[in-house]
């Protein structure tokens, strides 16, 4: 017997704003635009929306991020569900999960889930938008302060240390990290929304400057101003709506915790492993049945470790798995088919989510993957600390 909530809700609307170095708009402005586009796309009237879930991105923690007052900016009245959520890069998938649960509990009918961010400012670098850690006059108590003293700043450092651990344990190579960057860029070439569309070679990858070894610039995601919104509706309603419904078959989360002590390996065995069990069990499928992967790719390494933890290959074999180009256009396992966060745009978990919806609907244009029955969509946050995922399908069952 299949899971009672498998296929019980669907993504019925998608809105994507302009992306990248777009100035003069606040993250709330972007959020409003994305919701307008998502409602147009779904065919729903604003009055039919009764739930709103919001994720603020990095500007949420820097002040000035989109807040609960988005409800008023959108003129949404008498909502039955409202929250401002943050589990970092896993939030987008989580919002869709909670929307699905709320709809099936009868708490709401059409829930808008929106991510918006605007960390880029004119005349400042991408790195400055995200890497301000350590510049505070408050001296932390205990050894946690030693990270800054050692020069440990931002997510780049955490992922470099995680990737290095994987490379040392399993022989993962710089070429294998580069293969992820090259494959994703090949997809981005055919995505008019992508910020980076020039094809790259493995040589270009190696020649890109070091950020923190073993991560080159081309191992790291972009930073973007913009917003993405999706609408979640009940399956009964979804089948008669404007767009082909994208049914939610599976939902899972995994948050392993990091004891920073011997015997744990959060750098190389992530929350994806925990989420995989739940998401595949609910969907009633396994990795061999997945046609398309839309994986959170803040760094090339994240893709490799996520593929391992979902069982597409064995632990430690992710590098060899991606090296032959199977993630790219025409490859055996099309992955991050819009260019991902590395080459298209960085909207946290809404980057993989938006492309998963496009592919499941069959609206990918020249980058459309022919077989799109099952799409795995993942979100990851912190330094591999927080994970959530969905299995999506154009079929209700």
């Amino acid at each position: 017997m299949s899971h009672p909530l498998r296929g019980a809700a669907a993504i019925t609307g998608l809105g994507i704003t302009e992306m990248g170095r777009i100035y003069g708009k606040s993250s709330t402005d972007f959020a409003v635009d994305a919701v307008r586009y998502a409602l147009d796309d779904s065919g729903l009237k604003k009055s039919e929306v009764d739930g709103l879930l919001i994720n603020a991105g990095i500007t949420g923690s820097q002040g000035g991020g989109v807040s609960l007052s988005l409800q008023n900016a959108l003129g949404l009245r008498n909502l039955k569900l409202l929250n401002h959520m943050n589990a970092a890069g896993s939030t987008a998938a989580q919002m869709v999960q909670y929307a699905t649960l709320a709809i099936n509990a009868g708490m709401a009918s059409n829930v808008v889930c929106v991510f918006a961010d605007a960390p880029l400012r004119e005349g400042t670098s991408t790195g400055q938008a995200y890497g301000s850690a350590g510049r505070t006059s408050i001296r932390p108590t205990g050894v946690n302060g030693l990270f800054s003293t050692a020069g440990y700043f931002g997510a780049n450092t955490g992922y470099a240390l995680a990737a290095r651990r994987h490379m040392s344990l399993y022989g993962t190579t710089q070429d294998q990290l580069g293969a992820v960057a090259v494959a994703e860029r090949a997809w981005a070439v055919n995505n008019t929304r992508a910020q980076m569309r020039e094809p790259i070679t493995l040589d270009d990858y190696h020649n890109s400057r070091w950020i923190i070894e073993p991560l080159h610039l081309l191992d790291c995601c972009l930073v973007s101003n913009g917003a993405v919104a999706v609408v979640v509706s009940g399956a009964e309603q979804a089948k008669d709506m404007q767009q082909p419904p994208v049914y939610i078959w599976g939902m899972g989360q995994g948050h392993p915790g990091d004891p920073r002590s011997a015997g744990s390996s959060p750098e190389t065995e992530t929350g994806a492993k925990i989420a995989a069990e739940t998401v595949f069990s609910m969907a009633g499928v396994g990795p061999s049945e997945i046609d398309i992967c839309e994986l959170y790719d803040c760094y090339t390494y994240t893709v490799i470790v996520t593929l391992e933890d979902y069982g597409f290959c064995k632990k430690g074999e992710g590098g060899a798995f991606v090296e032959d180009g199977k993630l790219g256009p025409g490859g055996e396992l099309p992955t991050n088919t819009g260019g991902g966060q590395l080459s298209s745009f960085y909207m946290w978990g809404m980057t993989p989510m938006s492309e998963a919806v496009i592919q499941a609907r069959g609206q990918g244009g020249i980058r459309q993957v022919p077989k799109n029955d099952l799409v795995l969509c993942t979100g990851n946050g912190g330094v591999l600390n927080y994970h959530a995922s969905l299995v999506l399908s154009p079929h209700r069952n």
């Binding site: 790195g127 510049r135 205990g142 050894v143 302060g145 030693l146 003293t149």
Partner: protein
């Protein structure tokens, strides 16, 4: 013309971890042992993350460990690190189990390896001594 000297971000020598910093100034590494579950930890919190007990004791650790992972930073995030670029940073797995972040001194960055044996050395700043590491032979 004067050049602005920017200090590296430093932890506070006061608070519950004071014995750790005091011992460090004498070149000794102290760790916390939970009196309820016996787990060792570096002083990151007063509550044991394993069993949530607040009952703990300090003990002197070997100061020995191995490189658990490392990176070499090329990008400037903080002005105090300008002279250091490119600099290494490591996480060391201490012989007693807990992980401690730091830098390896006295070594070429290209010579760093995961699993390399290291020992703690203490470097004195204005009001606090900071644990760093060097390779043992």
């Amino acid at each position: 013309m004067t050049e602005e000297i920017v200090d590296k971000p430093l932890p506070s020598p006061s608070g519950f971890a004071e014995p750790f910093w005091e011992a460090g100034a004498e070149g000794r590494l102290l760790l916390i042992r939970c009196k309820s579950c016996n787990e060792s930890r570096v002083p990151s919190s007063e509550v044991c993350p394993n069993c949530l007990s607040v009952d703990f004791e300090w003990y002197e650790a070997s100061g020995l460990g191995v490189i658990y992972t490392y990176g070499v930073m090329h990008r400037l995030y903080h002005p105090a690190f300008e002279q250091d670029l490119p600099y290494n940073l490591v996480v060391v797995e201490l012989q007693e189990g807990p992980h401690l972040p730091g830098n390896i001194i006295g070594i070429e960055n290209d010579a760093l390896r995961v699993g390399m044996p290291v020992q703690v050395v203490w470097q004195k700043y204005s009001d606090i001594s900071i644990p760093r590491f060097q390779a043992t032979t």
